[in-house]
Symmetry: D2
Subunit: 109 residues, 4 copies
Amino acid sequence: MSDFKEIIDSLKKFRDERDWEQFHNPKDLSLAISIEASELLELFLWKKAEDANIEKIKDELADVFSFAFLLADKYNLDIKDIVLNKINQNALKYPVAKSKGTAKKYNEL
Amino acid sequence: MSDFKEIIDSLKKFRDERDWEQFHNPKDLSLAISIEASELLELFLWKKAEDANIEKIKDELADVFSFAFLLADKYNLDIKDIVLNKINQNALKYPVAKSKGTAKKYNEL
Amino acid sequence: MSDFKEIIDSLKKFRDERDWEQFHNPKDLSLAISIEASELLELFLWKKAEDANIEKIKDELADVFSFAFLLADKYNLDIKDIVLNKINQNALKYPVAKSKGTAKKYNEL
Amino acid sequence: MSDFKEIIDSLKKFRDERDWEQFHNPKDLSLAISIEASELLELFLWKKAEDANIEKIKDELADVFSFAFLLADKYNLDIKDIVLNKINQNALKYPVAKSKGTAKKYNEL
């Protein structure tokens, strides 16, 4: 069984035992991803990167992944497919020759 | 090779060809996750969940995953471990008997 | 006429000429505030604070304010009242003696 | 004294009593706006707009305004100016004839 399937099955089991699928429409799942990403971000607020608490980072990053996995599952998306496909798109927007060593956005290169 | 390793290796190859690791400190990676989560959210703005564009959702969700994978890699985190561990924590905060069928937060149950 | 009233009247005139109030429920207005805050944040991504583009900051901060004003108006909130009230609440959570010179959250003081 | 000046003076007095200006660089202030916007958004998660708690909305919206005011002050921005200027820009991007009654983005009109 793939890593993804095992994680997503665990998340859905947890969800279904609580009868929470009724709340998990894609719009609210996207809100949840954004809210969890912001809780992760808060661990770095007013701080240098190296001063953030790694145990809390694990928890908040796990929350981001959890809702992202649930949204992917909602649309039956293959996570490896969509990420590798996006890398290919980005390779066209960010050719190595123009983007090497610069953090500029593609529309400013 | 696990799904995760294959994806993360592809993301790091893309990053390193462009010499971008210098920008990828954990604080800015967390900003990136949050910004991408917000771009995903924008696909649902002023709309019902079912009216969002699925092709764009794939792209924005892929971006969320990409930076989340890169942050996990930065700290050498095992994604399956942190997610399953968080599910166990949440099982204590949200016992089935109290949380079934309600979207209340654990501190309001 | 107060500053607030003049700005909010301009925002509502713009909105009503386009018949957009139908989209502006408080949930979607909150999404809009969060999305605009993230576009502001993106101006600082991979950068030091001083390298962000001030003209773009003006535009994105204006967007944050615009939707925040519209949400305040939706609930008939007096902005001065809610901010001064929150300062008073925060003064209790962050007494000067304990919080001076530290960025810790109140629950870690 | 304008509404804005009175609020901003109160926020700065609170900040300076705690010697917090050292943390308030524009990048972290933007993180703070985004984090507070997300806490506001969380009040609507898994809910209809009308089921959110108005007292909590006041508090979280006050936080969004507070950090937005502090960022505006950091750059000496006139809030009325930047918002009215943005309305003028948006009037060009969203002509009434094309945008009336639709929530489409300007690049999809």
